[in-house]
């Protein structure tokens, strides 16, 4: 009763009780055009789940698992990429993790986790603790026989992430699965779309996309420790970097979306009657169809989309320190092309950025990174 009254008063005064305020991209997240300036290593439509393995990289496009090899290009400072092998799996791939040797844990959207290579080759895990792993968004090897799995939602598949966001999904969970015994332990439930995992000492870092934050579990704590919050975009995959972590943010937050999230009847009707591609919702890429609602916030001048205009899609990679404090960032702005960054992989000192929205992998030059870190 008291909390309801408090909430009513807060809404009356206009307090931001749900964290809907969107902080500007400023400080270490100050916009630039570094992602657009970077060289395209490989154009690959629908590229996702880029992971570094010994000898190269792997990634996915739909149900295909691709092995990529680095090719030096004398015309450029960064290497290019070429497809070395292809393998088609049983369903669309939504996450990949490498154990550092020859085993890959692959999340199949709507099915579960499949292990390729290593001691548990061919094994498929469809559920954990009675929960179907129908939305594997991130996988992490925490030892040869231990797998950490982020199940983004109990309700939808990973490809349908937009429905989970607009449905105010809070059904995600993170699991620890012992591959030897098959035992599954829940690390956390009721998460708002866990979409990235990384190990930080004894802790597991989890990107909780719809709460726009990164939290840490483990280390004897019962509750999550918030490491990074108030992000102006939805955080996705986390990749270890020298002295910190790379963080991909796959779509920008938008005041209109935050408003629509408070309008239940409107949102329900929109979700029932309109194609998800044209919802008032973030996207991995936008501006390709005139049917999209208010493109770029209508900030077109002389047929040029202004870089600061609100947009449904954006490209953003952040470099955080070991405490997940942002230190530098690489952007593709509203008028850029490298939008919808869903995966990152560092190889030979070059950061490869998998932009699913743009359908391309771009390579960031090492000097640029060190400059930003300085």
């Amino acid at each position: 009763m008291i909390s309801a009254l408090k909430r009513a008063y807060a809404e009356f005064r206009g307090f931001d009780v749900d964290g809907r305020a969107i902080l500007p991209m400023e400080g270490p997240l100050k916009p630039n055009t570094a992602l657009d300036d970077a060289a395209v290593a490989l154009a690959l439509p629908d590229v996702d789940s880029l992971v570094a393995i010994s000898g190269g990289l792997v990634c996915s496009t739909g149900a295909e698992l691709l092995t990529l090899e680095l090719r030096a290009d004398p015309a450029r400072r960064t290497p290019g990429l070429a497809i070395a092998a292809r393998q088609t799996l049983s369903g669309p791939i939504s996450a990949i993790a490498s154990d550092g040797s020859n085993a890959l844990a692959i999340g199949i959207d709507g099915e579960g986790i499949t292990i390729l290579g290593g001691r548990h080759d061919g094994r498929t895990i469809r559920e954990a603790g009675g929960t179907a792993l129908n939305c594997p968004t991130a996988v992490l090897f925490a030892g040869a026989d231990v797998l950490i799995v982020a199940n983004g939602s109990n309700m939808v598949k990973a490809a349908d992430w937009k429905r989970d966001l607009m449905g105010r999904g809070r059904s995600g969970s993170v699991w620890k699965i012992d591959l030897a015994s098959g035992e599954a332990t829940v690390i956390s439930r009721d998460l708002a779309y866990p979409s990235g995992l990384a190990a930080s000492g004894n802790d597991i870092l989890v990107s909780e996309a719809w709460r726009h934050r990164v939290v840490a579990f483990g280390g004897g704590r019962t509750d999550a420790e918030v490491r990074l919050e108030d992000l102006p975009a939805y955080p996705g995959r986390i990749v270890p970097a020298a002295g910190g972590f790379w963080l991909s943010l796959f779509a920008p937050r938008n005041a209109l979306v935050e408003f629509v999230l408070t309008e239940d009847a409107y949102r329900r009707e929109m979700m029932e009657t309109i194609d998800p591609a044209y919802w008032i919702a973030p996207a991995l890429m936008s501006g390709r169809s005139f049917l999209e609602p208010i493109q770029g916030g209508a900030r077109k001048k002389l047929n040029m989309l202004k870089p600061w205009s609100p947009s449904w899609s954006y490209g953003l990679v952040a470099l955080c320190d070991e405490r997940m404090r942002p230190r530098a960032s690489w952007h593709s702005r509203a008028d850029g092309q490298v939008h919808g960054v869903t995966s990152l992989a560092e190889r030979d000192g070059v950061l490869f950025v998998g932009a699913k929205g743009a359908g391309a992998i771009v390579a960031l030059e090492p000097p640029r990174m060190t400059e930003r870190l300085a």
């Binding site: 206009g14 400080g27 100050k30 918030v226 404090r325």
Partner: protein, 498 residues
């Protein structure tokens, strides 16, 4: 044709430091002349010379071709020169009519005839102001009209306005512009100082740009555009030695996020602005007068209150905070060092020790309600040494100190509270050159020690020399962020004006 007023090689020095030097300026009868320049360029001093507030150190002033020496504003008024200051000189407890005729009263005064006379006079100027209204009840625009009426009543041929539109609403600005044009048609000369370049371009016939106390250019307004004025205003040669860190400086890394301001609003002054402040950095806030920088930080410090409805939120170390008064902000580690030290910064009748001790008392609870003066003196001595306050001893009255030393005491009074976030509003305003360097060094030391410093300044070289991040305000919100590597005076000014 003889110019109405002419300054020839005019120089004004304060304690040997020139406010401007070798200035040549002519004002024609019936023109509107804008004087623009950065803060500290010498605009106000120049106009005060014209108005007889200060005498010239060297050079000469001619009115109608005849050399004059104006010893007081009254003498200037007798020569037909009146000045309307930023803060009006009206008596708030008197009526409009009484203010207009103040100093010009007859031996026997009949209020009724005074009001009728004033009404006629105001209407002749197209000023719709009630002559019987108390001045304290008038808005800024109407007060300015009364000031102008007073000047016209004293047969002024030249009216000087210092930042006339800074406190005006858009509607009042419109009325002011019309008024200035009407006065010009009547043959009056108008000189106005403004930071709003579009106003200078819109209203004036000629523009003079001052920089570092020298006239850079005087030309007809049609020969100017915004870019040319900005270029003339900020091109700098003299302050290289003082502000020698500008350009190529490596900014300090981002520390913890200490303060998050989210969608803060306060009337028309602060409009839905958001930004963050990080520990171990100097965050510079630049903007023109009235852009909302000071008000935003005063909301943070609990001096002002944000809008009651949808006023936004402030988080200090991730915790939402809302201060109705400054004291809880001080207890949470926020200190605000005011831009107006004489009014808000110190108790002028108290000693240095007393002022510093007051700062400390604001931070802590003193159950015995006993203040040890010996302790206060030790504290003052310690801070005087740290900040280099030059005074006979800690018992010296603060009013007897120079502006720079007063400012140091005001800073000491704030820092004695062991803050996490220090907001310095125009920290070197009215401070001599030597002290500016000392204060700058101290600001750098604060940031190096891990304290979050917010520095509000209207002086671009100061912003460039000290800031690790520069946030630029325009019309109540942050419109641009720059890092030192990309910031230039022209770019910052462009963002603040456009």
């Amino acid at each position: 044709m003889t110019a109405f007023i002419e300054l020839r090689r005019a120089t004004k020095e304060f304690r040997g430091i020139p406010a401007f030097k070798d200035v040549d300026l002519t004002l024609e009868q019936g023109e509107i002349h804008a004087i623009v320049g950065e803060n500290g360029a010498g605009k106000s001093t120049l106009t005060k010379i014209l108005a007889g507030v200060y005498p010239l150190t060297a050079g000469e002033m001619l009115v109608d071709g005849k050399p004059v020496k104006l010893a007081s504003p009254a003498e200037a008024l007798a020569s037909g020169i009146a000045m309307v200051f930023q803060e009006t000189n009206l008596v708030p407890s008197m009526t409009v009519a009484q203010n207009i005729y103040l100093g010009d009263e007859k031996f026997f005064n009949r209020l009724r005839s005074l009001y009728i006379q004033a009404q006629r006079f105001l209407l002749s100027l197209n000023f719709y102001v009630d002559p019987m209204a108390l001045v304290s009840s008038l808005g800024a625009g109407k007060k300015q009209m009364v000031e102008i009426a007073r000047a016209v009543h004293h047969h002024a041929r030249l009216i000087i306005f210092d930042e006339p539109t800074a406190t005006l609403t858009p509607e009042e600005k419109f009325h002011f512009f019309n008024l200035a044009r009407r006065l010009k048609e009547q043959g009056m000369t108008i000189v106005f100082i403004s930071h709003a370049l579009e106003e200078a371009l819109m209203l004036s016939d000629r523009i003079t740009v001052l920089r570092d106390g020298e006239v850079v250019v005087t030309d007809k307004t049609e020969n100017f555009d915004r870019e040319r004025i900005i270029q003339a205003m900020v091109g700098r040669t003299l302050s290289g030695e003082l502000y020698n860190k500008a350009g190529g400086r490596v900014p300090r890394p981002y520390g913890e996020k200490i303060l998050s301001i989210e969608n803060i609003s306060m009337g028309n002054t602060v409009r839905n602005t958001s930004f963050s402040v990080y520990a171990g950095q100097v965050t510079g806030l630049f903007g023109l007068v009235g852009s909302g920088r000071t008000e935003t930080m005063k909301i943070v410090a609990g001096v002002l209150k944000r809008d009651f409805f949808h006023g936004g939120s402030i988080r200090l170390n991730r915790q939402p905070v809302r201060y109705a008064t400054p004291r809880p902000a001080v207890l949470d580690g926020i200190v605000y060092v005011t831009e107006d030290r004489k009014v808000e910064g110190f108790f002028e009748t108290m000693s240095i020790a007393g002022n510093v001790q007051v700062g400390k008392l604001a931070k802590g609870y003193n159950p015995l309600a006993v203040v040890s003066m010996a302790e206060a003196r030790d504290l003052a001595k310690e801070w005087s040494a740290r900040l280099g306050v030059r005074a006979i001893d800690a018992n010296a009255r603060i009013i007897e100190l120079s502006g720079g030393n007063q400012q140091k005491v005001v800073i000491a009074k704030a820092l004695v509270q062991a803050p996490k976030l220090v907001i310095l509003d125009e920290p070197t305003r009215g401070v001599d050159v030597g002290t500016i360097v000392e204060i700058h060094n101290f600001i750098n030391q604060l940031a190096d020690s891990g304290i979050a410093v917010v520095m509000i300044s209207s002086y671009l070289p100061e912003i460039l020399a000290l800031s690790d991040r520069i946030l630029i305000y325009r019309q109540g919100r942050v419109v641009e962020e720059m890092v030192p590597a990309e910031a230039t005076e022209a770019r910052i000014m462009y963002a603040a004006v456009h």
